[in-house]
């Protein structure tokens, strides 16, 4: 896939949603990944997991529906769908760690060519660290999708040969969705470029030492 302009967050969320198979069990991380839920139609028949203890999570609660006992992992009040189920934390993380989720979608600071993920800590030594369920999500799902901008504000590419930020998980990212392209990662470190948006293959290659393979015409 090639587009002449970079894509916005909503378009990217649509592209992620398009890649989720019907009937999947999915966990959407906090932030940008949450947008994906707007593009999951009833045809998708996706069941959402939230790691604080629920399968079958529904949309965000409207004001009249707010229930302090029914929240998502971002502590936002949500609703439940028919067929939902509640369980405790050990059972909830067993779903993740045990490899039962089909897809989880996460944000990131950096992703390496071999799929290392850095999304919990900027590396600033004076920062108060907080990890939550990030490391469990990173290693848990059958497919781990990451959504982020491809470049920092300073223009540095965030898909890197080796992550410089503290890692969340090793070799765990399957596919990277960015405003400038979509990338399939593997243990080999060779990155398949599935889509480019407002960026040529040559421009991309010039930004990084990673070995890219052009698969945009597939």
């Amino acid at each position: 896939m090639l587009r002449s302009e970079k894509v916005d967050r909503n378009t990217l969320a649509q592209l992620v949603a398009d890649d989720i198979e019907a009937g999947s069990f999915v966990n959407l991380g906090i932030g940008q990944p949450t947008l994906v839920s707007n593009y999951l139609t009833s045809e998708h028949d996706v069941t959402l997991h939230t790691e604080n203890g629920m399968l079958g999570m529904g949309r965000a609660a409207e004001e009249s529906e707010v229930d302090i006992d029914l929240i998502n992992a971002g502590k936002v009040p949500v609703t439940e769908t028919p067929g939902a189920a509640f369980f405790h934390q050990a059972d909830s993380f067993a779903i993740m760690r045990g490899g039962h989720l089909d897809v989880c979608v996460l944000g990131a600071f950096q992703v390496s060519a071999t799929g290392d993920l850095a999304n919990w800590h900027t590396g600033a030594e004076d920062a108060i660290p907080a990890v939550g369920g990030a490391m469990d999500l990173a290693i848990g799902a059958k497919r781990v999708y990451v959504m982020m901008n491809l470049f920092t504000r300073d223009g540095d590419i965030k898909l890197v040969p080796e992550a410089t930020y503290p890692l969340t998980g090793v070799g765990c990212v399957s596919r990277l969705y960015t405003d400038h392209g979509i990338f399939e990662l593997s243990d080999s470190g060779t990155v398949e470029v599935l889509a480019l948006f407002g960026l040529s293959f040559e421009e991309l290659s010039s930004k990084s030492d990673i070995h890219f393979v052009d698969a945009t015409s597939k």
Partner: protein
């Protein structure tokens, strides 16, 4: 045998200085706020607290930290927009933090309750949270060895109890309650109401009476919300 306390103060009266206190809750959901407030009133100090977070705003656990009654906290997500009391204590070097990925936290509590000595988990492998820990490759995958977290006391919030001490929870407020109840020498539960034994369906009990040492009935917003839900269901 489960004792029924008249007040939250009575329920927490025998928590001694230096205790490791497991506190249920994920944010406000399932947080045993009235028990934590009673613990604050009790004056117990030098506590180690295990909770998913490190207190929010000016209530509950945050106040315990503000008053410097917590020497150490074991949690997964201390830093929040309203965790100012923790932030201040941490920056002042007046509270020790053990940061644990949320699933390892849950599994370490479960291991304590289930008599498991240690377990190999893939979560955290290759990260700075596994530094210094034993690692092992098993069937081509890398794991970190993690140990149980035992509590002296667990403070949890459930929805309903029967007089025998069986507990059920409400929605995502269940979170850490059932695992913490198994991991402490003494489990103290606040519940919305205590029903006659035999009222709860034996198929649906989440925490069995063997784990509940003390309980106290305290109505919170959960009761209103359950009533609202029943009314909507009846429409």
């Amino acid at each position: 045998m489960t004792k029924i306390a008249d007040t939250a103060a009575d329920a927490v009266a025998n928590i001694s200085d230096g205790s490791t206190v497991l506190m249920g809750g994920f944010g406000d959901a399932g947080q045993p706020m009235e028990l934590i407030e009673a613990l604050l009133e009790s004056g117990a100090k030098d506590l180690t607290v295990v909770n998913n977070n490190a207190g929010q705003a000016d209530a509950g656990l945050a106040l315990l930290i503000k008053e410097r009654r917590v020497n150490k906290i074991i949690c997964s997500f201390p830093r929040q927009s309203d965790s100012w009391h923790f932030d201040e204590a941490y920056r002042a070097g007046e509270i020790e933090l053990e940061l644990v990925p949320q699933g390892n936290l849950a599994e370490r509590l479960r291991a304590a309750g289930a008599g498991i000595g240690a377990f190999f988990t893939p979560t955290g492998y290759g990260t700075r949270l596994a530094e210094g820990k034993e690692v092992r490759e098993i069937n081509g995958r890398n794991y970190v060895l993690e140990y149980p977290i035992h509590g002296d006391v667990a403070l949890i919030k459930a929805f309903q109890a029967d007089e025998k001490g069986n507990l059920v929870y409400r929605k995502t407020a269940r979170n850490f309650g059932p695992v913490m109840a198994t991991a402490a020498k003494q489990t103290i539960a606040q519940v919305e109401e205590i029903l006659p034994t035999g009222t709860l369906d034996p198929e649906n009990i989440v925490t069995t009476s063997i784990y509940t040492d003390v309980m106290v009935a305290i109505q919170t917003q959960s009761t209103e919300l359950a009533a609202r839900e029943r009314a909507q269901g009846a429409k």
